[in-house]
Structures are given as C-alpha cells and as structure tokens.
C-alpha cells in the first residue's frame, strides 16, 4: 500500500488538474440565479412600434426568455438560426435585447436574418445589460412568472442548449408558477 502512495497522489493530482482543464473559464457562475430579474424599461425597436416603451413588468405572470444579442457580435450569427428554429416551440415570449448596438444595425440584422423575437428592445448604452450581469453577447436568460431568473446561458445557444438547458428551465419555471397558484 505504502509504495503506491506516490502513484495515488499522482493520479489524484492528475485527476484534479484534468478536471480543471476541462472547465470553461468563460462560464462564470451568475449570482443572479434565483434572484429577481432587474426591472427595466427600454425602447422597442420594431419599425412599427417605434417610440413605444417596453416595461419588463408587463411580462410578470408568465415565464419568458431574454436573449441578449448585437449585430456586431459574431457568435450571434451562429445563434440566430437556432432562435428562429426554436421560437415557435418555446410557448413563451422571447424578448430580444440589442446590446450596445445602433438601432439601424439591429433593424437591418433582423430584416436580413428573420425576427424570432416576440419583442425587440434596445439597450443602447448597456446599462440594463450591466444589471443583468451581461459580460459578453450572446447571453440568454430564462425568467419565471414571478420574475425570478432561473437560468443564464453564456455564449450562443445551440439546439442542444435548447433541448438540455432552456426547455428544462422553462418547465421548472412552469412548475414554479403552478406551485404558486
């Protein structure tokens, strides 16, 4: 037993380090999970809704998904078709927040690539983004009917992310809702 001790220590250290190597350093745990989502009011971006304000409060009472994106963000190019594919399956509002983007650019982006969003809003100076702890686009949040953040996904969402993270989080949000009623 004793002679194997260095081997055991080596294996334990190698295990620990390889675990550390496989962690994603960009995946910063959000302290906002389980906390109330910031309440904000922002301008709507849709050409037909120009000048209208959007109040996050208006979504209370149902779960919803917030997707933070920008026309200058290259990962959003990959993400956008996935959103287009999934928006009809969500069954809840999908709010698109254009983060630090010019209104023109965001509108052009949506016209060119399709608009999967129920509501599109503009966070022009990124202040609402800071309140949501956004540190890079795209980021996606699932918020339940009480306005609590249930999930935060950093980076582009893929079909797998939808199937394995976002849909289960929405189910959880619905259970939260049923529990309250």
């Amino acid at each position: 037993m004793k002679r194997y001790l260095p081997l055991i220590i080596f294996v334990a250290l190698a295990g620990l380090l390889s675990y550390g190597l496989r962690l994603n350093p960009r995946d910063i745990p959000s302290p906002l999970i389980g906390k109330p989502a910031p309440v904000f009011t922002l301008d709507r971006l849709e050409a037909s809704k120009r000048g209208e304000k959007f109040h996050a409060k208006s979504l209370l009472g149902q779960p919803w998904v917030l997707n933070v994106w920008a026309s200058w963000c290259s990962a959003c190019v990959v993400e956008h078709p996935v959103l287009n594919r999934w928006q009809s399956k969500l069954g809840v509002p999908l709010v698109g927040m254009a983060y630090k983007d010019s209104d023109d650019d965001s509108q052009k982006w949506l016209a060119a690539r399709g608009n999967p969003y129920t509501v599109v809003i503009a966070d022009r100076d990124g202040r609402v983004g800071i309140d949501f702890g956004v540190y890079g686009v795209p980021e996606t949040f699932v918020i339940d009917a009480q306005g609590t953040i249930v999930l935060k996904h950093t980076g582009p969402v893929s079909d797998d992310v939808f199937a394995d993270k976002i849909m289960p989080a929405l189910q959880q949000a619905r259970r939260n809702q049923a529990g309250v009623k």
Binding site: I28, P31, L32, R127, F132, G133, Y135
Partner: protein, 164 residues
C-alpha cells in the same frame, strides 16, 4: 504602493483633457479619478479575465469604469461599489476572493499542501532516526550487494571472453 500609483496617476492626468472633455472640468474630478484607478485595479475585467478593470480596453470595462465613476461621484463607498458589482457578476469580479465555504480550499489549499509535505518529511526523518528504513533493506532475504557481480568478477568475465 504610493510609488506604484504615481506613474498611473500621472498617465491618467495626461488622459484627462480627452476623457473629461464631455463632462465637467478636470480639477474637481482628480479625487474621483484617483479612487476609480485604485478601485478598478482591484476589479477584474470579465471579458479579458486576466486584466484588471483599470487596464482593460474592452467596451464592458469602459462601461463598468463609467458606472464606478458615477457611483464614486454619487458618494458611494468602495464597499458599496464592490457589492454592486459582485451582486451582478459574482465574486469573480474581484481579484481578492472573499472568505467563504466555496473559497476555503483556495485560501487554505497551499497551507494544507505545505503541512502535508512537512508531515511526510518529519515522518520519514523520524523513521530514519529509528533505523526503520535501514531495517527494511537488511531484513530482505539476500543482502542487496550479494546479487551483484563485483568489479573483479566482471573483469574476469571480460578477460575470459577475450581469450575465446
């Protein structure tokens, strides 16, 4: 610390005419900027991760510096500002991790490893003093050296080979 801050402060003063052009005159903001520099050196840029908020040129870092600057001007304490940022970005945003259950291993890990090393060392030294290590070797059935050919034996073998 003061020596280290002086050049940064000087650099900052050089930037002031540009940075402050849109806001108020520089003089009243020197104290604010000094606190901003000191505070943001303690904070991590979340985009670049290994750069401080003070040195980063990432757009988010600029936004966060603006936020910190505004909060300083509004009379918030450093503690309140750091709290504001950790509420949104977690402890990751500070370079000095706080003491809590999650960071216990981080803080105590090096100490534990050192204690382990010293423990093993002392254990082995004590074993050697007692002669246990020596006993291990001599206790085996054949003395280790007996199995090895001596130099004379090797030489004889070599000579034999040469003769053949």
């Amino acid at each position: 610390m003061r020596n280290y801050l002086a050049p940064i402060f000087a650099l900052l003063l050089m930037c002031l005419p540009v940075a402050q052009a849109k806001t108020s005159p520089a003089a009243s903001n020197v104290a604010v900027e000094a606190r901003l520099v000191a505070l943001s050196a303690e904070l991590r840029c979340l985009v670049c991760q290994n750069e401080s908020l003070a040195s980063s040129r990432a757009p988010l870092a600029e936004d966060l510096r603006r936020e910190v600057r505004e909060q300083i001007s509004a009379g918030k304490t450093d503690r309140q500002i750091i709290q504001y940022l950790t509420d949104r970005y977690g402890d990751f945003v500070t370079y000095r991790p706080p003491w809590n259950a999650r960071t216990l291993l981080l803080w105590l890990g090096p100490l534990l490893l050192m204690l382990l090393g010293v423990g093993i060392l002392l254990h082995n030294l004590r074993k050697k003093d007692r002669g246990d290590i020596h006993a291990d070797v001599s206790g085996s059935s054949t003395p280790p050296d007996a199995a090895l050919p001596t130099l004379a034996q090797l030489q004889r073998e070599f000579e034999d080979k040469k003769d053949e």
